[in-house]
Point group: C2
C-alpha cells in the first residue's frame, strides 16, 4: 500500500438547516474540501467517490443511489460512486474505502462524503431513523428489555446501561459524566461549526431534563443536520496541487459480535496502532464517539490511553480539556458539535486535520502532531456494532 494523505476538508456547520436539502449541504462541504485540496471539480483528478448516509431513506424518501443524488450539484457526476452504510460509523467507513482506493493505487485521488438531515417535522421519524439498525420486532424486544419510556431515542437507554455498568466497575460518578459534558460544551463554544456551545456547570448539567438513567439532555448528542467531505490523495499529488497534506497513518473498520462489546474498540485500536506504528502514549489529541458523556470515559480506557477505571482521574485533573496533556473532543464532540449520523465520522477527522495543520483558532491544541478518531455505530445489537479508528499525523 502506498502512503495516503488528507489533502482537503470541508464541512457545513452542524445544527438545524431548515429549508436546505441534503444536496445543498453536500455541495457546500464538497466545494470547501475541493478548494482546500486545491482542485476544481471540473476535470478533477478524483477517481472515486464514497458516500455515507444512514437516514435519507426514511427521512428524505431517497432510498437508493443516495450519493448520486447528493452530489448532483457538486461537479462530481460521472465519477464512480459507491454508497456505503455502517450506522453512525458510515462516514469513517466511507473514509476507509476511499483510503483503500488511493492506497492500493486504484485511483490517485478519492473523496469521502457523509451527510445527514435529521430535522424533519415529525421528530419520532428521526428517532426511528436513528434506531433503524434494528427492525421493529427487535426494537420492541430491546425496548422492553431496557424499560424504554416510549419517547425519545432508545439509543440513550443503551448508553444509560453502559453508564450504569461503568459506574459499577470504576470510581466514576455522575458528576464525572456531567463534567465531560461541561468540558465538551466549553470546547464547542470555541467551534463556530458546533451546534450547541455553552458555559455550563456540573450542577446545571445534572439538573437538566433527564433522558435515561443517569443521562440528562446536555450529556446526550443532539439531533443534527450537516455534511462533511474529505479529499484523499498521494503526498506527491497533494504537493502538486498546493494542498497542506496531513498523513493518514491508519484506518480500521471493525465489527462486533455477541459477547464482544468490551473488546471491539480495543481490538480496532490495537490494529490501528500497529498500522500506524504508534502507541496510545504517542497521541496528542483525540476525537471520540461521545454520543453520550459516559462513552468518552469508557472509550478512553478502551483506547489504552489510561488504565481501566482511570479515565475519571484524567478528566478531573483537566488532562482531557484543551490545554491539558491529551485534549479529547476539542471540537465539542458529538454532545456539543452535533451528530448528523453519516457526517460524524468525517467531521471528527476534519477537526483533527485542522488541529494538525494548526488551523483550529481558539481551540488549537498546542503542538499537536499525532491524532486519533474513534467512531462507532450500530450498538443497539451486539451483532450490528461497528467501530472505526483513524490515526492522522502532521
Amino acid at each position: 500500500m502506498r502512503e495516503v494523505v488528507v489533502a482537503g476538508v470541508g464541512m457545513t456547520a452542524f445544527g438545524k438547516h431548515p429549508g436546505r436539502s441534503i444536496t445543498s449541504l453536500v455541495t457546500e462541504s464538497v466545494g470547501d474540501a475541493l478548494a482546500d485540496a486545491g482542485v476544481a471539480a471540473a476535470n478533477s483528478p478524483i477517481g472515486a467517490v464514497f458516500y455515507g448516509n444512514v437516514a435519507s431513506g426514511l427521512l428524505q424518501g431517497q432510498e437508493s443511489t443516495r450519493g448520486q443524488h447528493a452530489i448532483c450539484e457538486c461537479g462530481l457526476q460521472g465519477i464512480p460512486l459507491i454508497n456505503v452504510e455502517n450506522a453512525c460509523a458510515s462516514g469513517s467507513t466511507a473514509l476507509n474505502q476511499a483510503w483503500l482506493a488511493v492506497a492500493s493505487g486504484q485511483v490517485d485521488m478519492a473523496i469521502a462524503i457523509g451527510a445527514e438531515k435529521l430535522h424533519v417535522e415529525d421528530k419520532s421519524r428521526a428517532f426511528a431513523a436513528m434506531t433503524s439498525a434494528l427492525n421493529q420486532d427487535r426494537l420492541d424486544e430491546l425496548a422492553a428489555d431496557l424499560g424504554h419510556s416510549g419517547t425519545g431515542s432508545i439509543f440513550m437507554d443503551v448508553y444509560a446501561r453502559f453508564a450504569t455498568w461503568y459506574l459499577q466497575r470504576s470510581d466514576a460518578t455522575v458528576e464525572d459524566f456531567a463534567a465531560v459534558s461541561v468540558k465538551n460544551h466549553e470546547h464547542g463554544l470555541r467551534n463556530p461549526k458546533a451546534q450547541y456551545g455553552g458555559r455550563l456547570t456540573v450542577d446545571e448539567v445534572l439538573s437538566a431534563r433527564k433522558v435515561s438513567g443517569p443521562l440528562t439532555v446536555p450529556m446526550c448528542a443532539p439531533m443534527s443536520d450537516g455534511a462533511a467531505a474529505v479529499v484523499l490523495t498521494t503526498p506527491e499529488l497533494a504537493t502538486r496541487y498546493g494542498a497542506a497534506p496531513v498523513r493518514l497513518l491508519a484506518t480500521v473498520v471493525a465489527a462486533g459480535h455477541e459477547g464482544t462489546y468490551g473488546e471491539l474498540v480495543p481490538n480496532a485500536a490495537r490494529r490501528a496502532y500497529e498500522m500506524a506504528g504508534v502507541g496510545p502514549a504517542d497521541l496528542d489529541v483525540i476525537e471520540c464517539h461521545d454520543a453520550a458523556a459516559p462513552a468518552e470515559l469508557i472509550v478512553l480506557e478502551e483506547l489504552g490511553v489510561c488504565e481501566p477505571g482511570r479515565a475519571p482521574a484524567l478528566l478531573r485533573a483537566g488532562e482531557t480539556r484543551i490545554g491539558g496533556r491529551l485534549p479529547v473532543n476539542p471540537s465539542g464532540g458529538l454532545q456539543s458539535k452535533g451528530h448528523p449520523l453519516g457526517a460524524t465520522g468525517l467531521a471528527q477527522v476534519i477537526e483533527l486535520v485542522d488541529q494538525l495543520r494548526g488551523r483550529s483558532g481558539e481551540r488549537q491544541v498546542a503542538g499537536a502532531r499525532l491524532a486519533l478518531a474513534e467512531n462507532a455505530g450500530g450498538y443497539l445489537g451486539p451483532d450490528a456494532a461497528v467501530a472505526t479508528i483513524t490515526i492522522l499525523g502532521g
Copy 2:
C-alpha cells in the same frame, strides 16, 4: 495490484420464497459459497465482507446495518463488514470492493454477498422499492414525462423508451425483442435456479399482457427473492484450500451523468477490456442486464461485440443462444432467472464461474474460457445511472 480469483460461489434459487427471511436466504448462499471455496466460517481466513442490498429498508424494515443482520447466522460475525448500495448494480459493486480488498493486499480473502426479498404482501411497496432511486417528487415528474399508467414499475416505461429509441436507430423489430425473451426462457428452462423457464414462441410473447410500449410480461424481469455470494482470494490461497479458482480479470464500476446514457456502458467496457488485456472478440459467453428484452440487444452493441445496429442479426443467426458463437445470458438472464436487485450482479458472476469451470450441465457453453458480465442500475435518472463490468477467465 495482485491477482485475484473467485474461489467459491453460492446462490439460492431465485423466485418466491414465502416464509423465508433475508437472513435465511443469505445463510444458504454463503454456506454454499464457503463450502465451494473449501473454507469453514469458523476461523475462516475471510477478512472483509461486502453486502449489497437495495430494498430491505422499505420492505423488511431493516434500514441500517443490513448486512450485519443478514449474516447473523452465517458464522461471519465479527469480520469487518461494509454495506454497499448502487441500485440494481449493488451486487457487482460489492464484488468490486471485495476485489479491491484482496487485490490491494488488505485482506487475503473476502466475500461479496447480495440479497433481496421483493415479494411482500402489498405489491405496490415492491414497485416503490424498485424505483427508490428517485424520491417521490422526481418520480412524479418522470411518471408524467413517460405517461406512466399508474400501475406496475415505472422502470419498464424507461425500458420501453429505450426500446422505441432502439427500434428507430436499428433494423430491430418487436419480433426481435420477443425472440430475446424466447431464447432466455429456453436457457432458463435448463437452469434449476431460474424463476421462470419455459418454451415460448415469438407469437406467445407478443400476445402476452402488455407492460409498457412494445414490452410484454415475458420480456420483463419478474419480481424475485434470492441471495448470492462470491468468495474472492489469491490464486495461492485458493489452491491451498482446494478450490477450483476462476480468474477475476477485471471489475469496473462506472457512473453516468446527464447526456451520457449511450456512453456509460461503452466507457465501462473499454476500461474493463484494458484491465483484462482482452477485447470483445475474445469473449466466449456473456451475462448482461436484460431487465427488459431490448436491453440485451442494446448492451451487446455497447459492449462492442458487434457493430451498432447489428445485434438483431446476431440474434436471428442464433449466435447468442447456447450452442451459438457467443451465448448471451445462458442462465436465463434477468427475464427468466429472476432479478432480486442486490443479488443480480453476483448471480451473473456465479453463472459465468460455473460456465468457466464446466459445471453448467445442460446449459454448458462448450469451451468457455473468457466471460463478461454487465450489471446496471439507477437508470431512472441520468445522474443515478451505474454500470459495472466484470471479466472472468478460466
